[in-house]
C-alpha cells in the first residue's frame, strides 16, 4: 500500500504528517509506504491513499486515490481515525 502525504513544498506539513502516520501504522502493525510530496510533483503519481490538510481540498478535485483531509495536523486521534477508515475502505 502506498500513502502520499501532500503539502505545498513536500517537506514541512507533509513531512510532519508522514512521521505521525508512520508511527500509527507501526503501532497498528500495518505495512505501508508513506511518501511526502509537494503538490506540483504529485500530479500523475499512483498511490492508494492521499492525505492532505483540509485547506488544500480544492487542489485535490481530480485525485484518483482515496482522499483523506485532516483538520488538525497535530491531532493523532483525528489522523488515526481517518487513516484507518480509509485503509478499511480501499481493502
Amino acid at each position: 500500500m502506498k500513502i502520499a502525504t501532500l503539502c505545498g513544498m513536500g517537506f514541512g506539513t507533509s513531512m510532519m504528517l508522514k512521521l505521525t502516520i508512520d508511527d500509527l501504522l507501526k503501532a497498528e502493525g500495518i505495512e505501508a509506504e508513506t511518501i511526502p510530496w509537494d503538490l506540483g510533483s504529485f500530479k500523475g503519481q499512483l498511490v492508494d491513499i492521499v492525505v492532505a490538510p483540509l485547506d488544500m481540498k480544492s487542489h485535490l478535485k481530480d485525485a484518483t486515490a482515496k482522499v483523506v483531509l485532516i483538520n488538525n495536523l497535530v491531532d493523532k486521534a483525528e489522523i488515526k481515525t481517518k487513516i484507518l477508515a480509509a485503509i478499511k475502505a480501499i481493502k
Binding site: M9, F11, G12, M16, S58
Partner: protein
C-alpha cells in the same frame, strides 16, 4: 550545533517572542521571519518567500486550531536550518477554513529535506500536547515561553 539540531537548541531567547501585537497575518509572518533572519538562519529573501507561499498555496500553513507554521523552500534564502516561534495577542486570521484565528506562529527554514526532521518531530509532539499548548498560550515573556516549550530544566 549538530547536523540534526533539536528544538531545545533552536528555540532560544533569540528566536521566541510572547504576546506580539500585529495588524494581521502578513505582519505576524514578518515578525517571526525577522527572528529567523536576525539569528542568522535566513537571508532577507525568506520573509517575502514565506508570504508568497501562503498567498499562492493557500492557508494550509495553519496546521491546527490557532497554530500556523509558515515556511518556504531551502533555495528561498535558508543559511542554516532554524526555527522561530511567536505568540500573538490579539490572534489574527490567516484565511483557514477551520483553524483561524491564529495565536501561535512557528516559522522554520530548512537547508534540505532531512536536517529539520528531528526538530519537526519534536514540534509535532509539543503541538499535539494540550497542556503544553495551554502553557505556550499563557506565557507572557520569552522566558516563560521557553519553559512552556522545553520544560523547567532549561
Amino acid at each position: 550545533m549538530t547536523s540534526t539540531p533539536v528544538i531545545a537548541a533552536l528555540l532560544t531567547l533569540d528566536t521566541v517572542a510572547a504576546g506580539v501585537s500585529t495588524a494581521g497575518w502578513e505582519e505576524a509572518v514578518e515578525t517571526v521571519g525577522k527572528l529567523l533572519e536576525q539569528a542568522g538562519f535566513t537571508t532577507d529573501n525568506y520573509i517575502p518567500a514565506m508570504k508568497r507561499t501562503i498567498k499562492e498555496l493557500g492557508p494550509y500553513a495553519v496546521i491546527a486550531p490557532g497554530i500556523a507554521m509558515p515556511h518556504a523552500r531551502p533555495e528561498d534564502g535558508v543559511l542554516l536550518t532554524g526555527f522561530a516561534l511567536i505568540t500573538l495577542d490579539p490572534a489574527v486570521d490567516f484565511g483557514s477554513q477551520v483553524n483561524d484565528p491564529v495565536d501561535i506562529v512557528l516559522a522554520f527554514g530548512a537547508t534540505d529535506k532531512q536536517t529539520h526532521i528531528k526538530a519537526l518531530q519534536e514540534i509535532a509532539a509539543i503541538f499535539g500536547n494540550q497542556e503544553k499548548i495551554s502553557a505556550i498560550r499563557a506565557a507572557q515573556t520569552s522566558q516563560e515561553l521557553l519553559v512552556a516549550l522545553h520544560g523547567l530544566n532549561q
